[in-house]
Symmetry: C2
Subunit: 319 residues, 2 copies
C-alpha cells in the first residue's frame, strides 16, 4: 500500500480530524488545510482547523478561513498535519494530544523527518495543496468549488504563480482540474494579491528603498527593521513575501530578507535560483526549507545577524 | 471544417510563411510567434519572424528571440498574423505584401474584425500562445522544448500568471503539456520576471513608502517625484508598472501613479476595477486608454496636477 493510501485509510477510519499546519502560515498551509477540512467535513466527519498564526491579510478571502482557530478546544483522535516538517513548527498544537491519538503527516518538504504515525512525504510535489488534491481524488471525495478554490490558491502561491522550478505537469494538471471543478482564478487572484493593506505596501517601500546588492552582484538583500515597522504601523506578518523582490534582481543568485523581530532576534528568509541550496545554508543557523526557499532565526542583534548570514551566503554563492 | 483546420490546411500547403504580430509586443505576441515559427521551420518550411518592436527587456530570454526582425526583406506567399486585431497594429508589416499572397489571422481578441483570407478568432482562448498550441497539436507538429518554452511564456503572461479571469482549464492543460514537452517554468519565470534593475526597485520603494489612500478608501495613489528619481539614479522608464501596487490595495476602486517628468509636467497612470471608466477620466485631461487602464499628461506642477486629477477621480469613484 502506498503512503498516500495509508493516509487515506486512516482518514476514512477517523470520525473526527484536527487539521493542523505550520506557524506563520502562507496560502499553501492554510489553503491545503481548508481544502482538506471542507472535503472531509462534506464526507460527514467532525473537523477542526487549527493554526497558531499569524494569518496574513492575503489569506482572508480563502473560503472558510473563518474556521481557522488558534488552538483545539478539545482532544482529537486523529491529527492531520499538513506542510509541516516537524511537530515544533505547529507552534505546540500537538503538545496536548491524547495518548493513542494518531498523527498523519502529509508534507512536500525534503527536510520532513517522518514524525507521524503515518507519513506521506513527497518532495516532488509542488505544494501541500497538490498533495491534498491527489488525496481527495484518490479517495473519491467530491471537490466542491470552495475546496477547489483553496487548493488552487495553495498550488498557485507555492509555485510562485506557476513560474518556479517546482511547476510540474502534475501541478498544472491539478490546477486545471480545480478550475474545472469551480475554482475561479480571477477571484482567487484578487483575493490573494488585491487585498493588500496600505501599511504593508508602505513597509515594503521602506525595505525596498534601501535594497542592497553585493559588489559581485550575486547577493541582494533587504532589511525590515523594527523602526520601519513602527513607521508603517504594521508588523512582520506583512513581510512574508518581501524576499521575492531582491530575488527579482538581474544576476542575483541568493536573495535575503532580514526581518527584525526583537532587539536580539532576526528572522531571515532565503531564496536562490538553480542549484544553490539555501536550505543547507539555513540549517547552519538552525533553520530549514527547500533548496530554493528556506528560512532561519538568529538570536543576535540585526547587524550581527546580517553579517553572519551574508558571510555564509557569499561563500555559497561564490563557489 | 473548423476555422482552426482551415488555418492548418493553409499552413500545410505553404512552403514559406512570414509570422507577424502587433507593435509594442508583450510575451504573448512574441512567444506565440516564436512557438509557431520554430515548429513550422522544424517541419521544413522557410520561416521569417517579424515585429516592429520595441521588444521589452523581459523578452530577451525567449528561445529564438534573435530571429525576430523589424521587417521582411522579401515578399512571402503566406502571412500568419498572430494576436493582432487589425492590420494597422502590425505597424505596416502587411503593407507591401504581394498580390495573391494569403493572410492567416489567428487571434483571441474580441475586437478582431476578421481581416485575413482565413480567420480563426477565439475570444475564449486565454492567449495567442494557447491557440498556437492547439494548432500545433491538431497538426501533429512536434513540440520541441524551445517551442514549448515560448508558448508557456505566452500563456503564463497573458493570464497574469494564471490568476486573471481568462485562466481556463484549457489554458492550464495546455501549460501542463508544454511543461511535459520540455518548457522549464523556473527558467522562463526568471527570464520574464527576474531581470529587474536594483535602481528600479529602490525607486519603487521610495514611491511606496509614501503610498496614500483617500479617507473613503476608494482611491489609492503613489507619486514618483523627480527627487526620488535622482536618489534612485533611474528615471520614469523604470516606473511603467508601478500603478499596479496602489491597485492592489484592498477596497480601492481607482489607483493612480503621478510621475513627475519636469517642473510643470506630470504623467498620470490610472487603473480601475470593474465598471469605473478611467479612460473617460483621462480624456478630461487630454489622455485616453481603456476602461480599466488609462493615462494622461498634465502641464502643471506636481501638487496642482495631483489635486486636479484626484478631485476628478473622487467624483467618479464616489458615484
Amino acid at each position: 500500500m502506498s503512503d498516500l493510501h495509508r493516509v487515506l485509510e486512516a482518514l476514512r477510519a477517523a470520525a473526527e480530524v484536527a487539521v493542523l499546519s505550520h506557524e506563520s502560515p502562507e496560502a499553501d498551509a492554510i489553503g491545503a488545510s481548508l481544502g482538506a477540512a471542507l472535503a472531509l467535513e462534506a464526507a460527514g466527519k467532525r473537523i477542526g482547523v487549527y493554526n497558531v498564526g499569524p494569518l496574513p491579510p492575503a489569506l482572508r478571502a480563502l473560503p472558510g478561513v473563518e474556521r481557522v482557530q488558534p488552538a483545539p478546544s478539545r482532544p482529537y483522535a486523529c491529527y492531520l498535519v499538513l506542510d509541516t516538517t516537524e511537530p515544533a513548527r505547529t507552534g505546540g498544537l500537538l503538545d496536548g494530544r491524547p495518548p493513542g491519538s494518531q498523527v498523519l503527516n502529509v508534507d512536500h518538504h525534503l527536510g520532513n523527518r517522518g514524525f507521524g504515525d503515518v507519513n506521506w512525504v513527497d518532495a516532488a510535489a509542488s505544494s501541500a495543496g497538490e498533495m491534498v488534491y491527489r488525496l481527495l481524488v484518490a479517495g473519491g471525495f467530491p471537490l466542491s468549488p470552495p475546496v477547489a478554490a483553496n487548493l488552487y490558491a495553495a498550488i498557485l502561491t507555492d509555485t510562485g504563480g506557476f513560474r518556479h522550478p517546482n511547476t510540474t505537469p502534475e501541478a498544472l494538471r491539478a490546477a486545471a482540474e480545480l478550475v474545472a471543478e469551480g475554482a475561479r482564478p480571477g477571484e482567487i487572484g484578487r483575493g490573494l494579491y488585491g487585498q493588500r493593506d496600505p501599511r504593508e505596501l508602505r513597509l515594503l517601500g521602506l525595505a525596498l528603498a534601501d535594497l542592497q546588492v553585493s559588489a559581485d552582484g550575486r547577493l541582494a538583500w533587504i532589511t525590515v527593521s523594527r523602526a520601519a515597522q513602527a513607521v508603517a504601523g504594521i508588523g512582520l506578518e506583512a513581510a512574508e513575501d518581501f524576499v521575492q523582490y531582491p530575488r527579482g534582481v538581474a544576476g542575483v543568485e541568493i536573495a535575503l530578507a532580514f526581518k527584525e523581530v526583537a532587539a536580539t532576534e532576526v528572522r531571515v528568509s532565503l531564496r536562490s535560483w538553480g542549484p544553490l541550496d539555501v536550505a543547507a545554508l539555513a540549517s547552519r543557523f538552525g533553520g530549514g526549507g527547500h533548496r530554493n526557499a528556506a528560512g532561519c532565526t538568529l538570536h543576535l542583534p540585526l547587524e550581527a545577524a546580517r553579517a553572519a548570514v551574508l558571510g555564509a551566503a557569499a561563500g555559497l554563492a561564490g563557489r
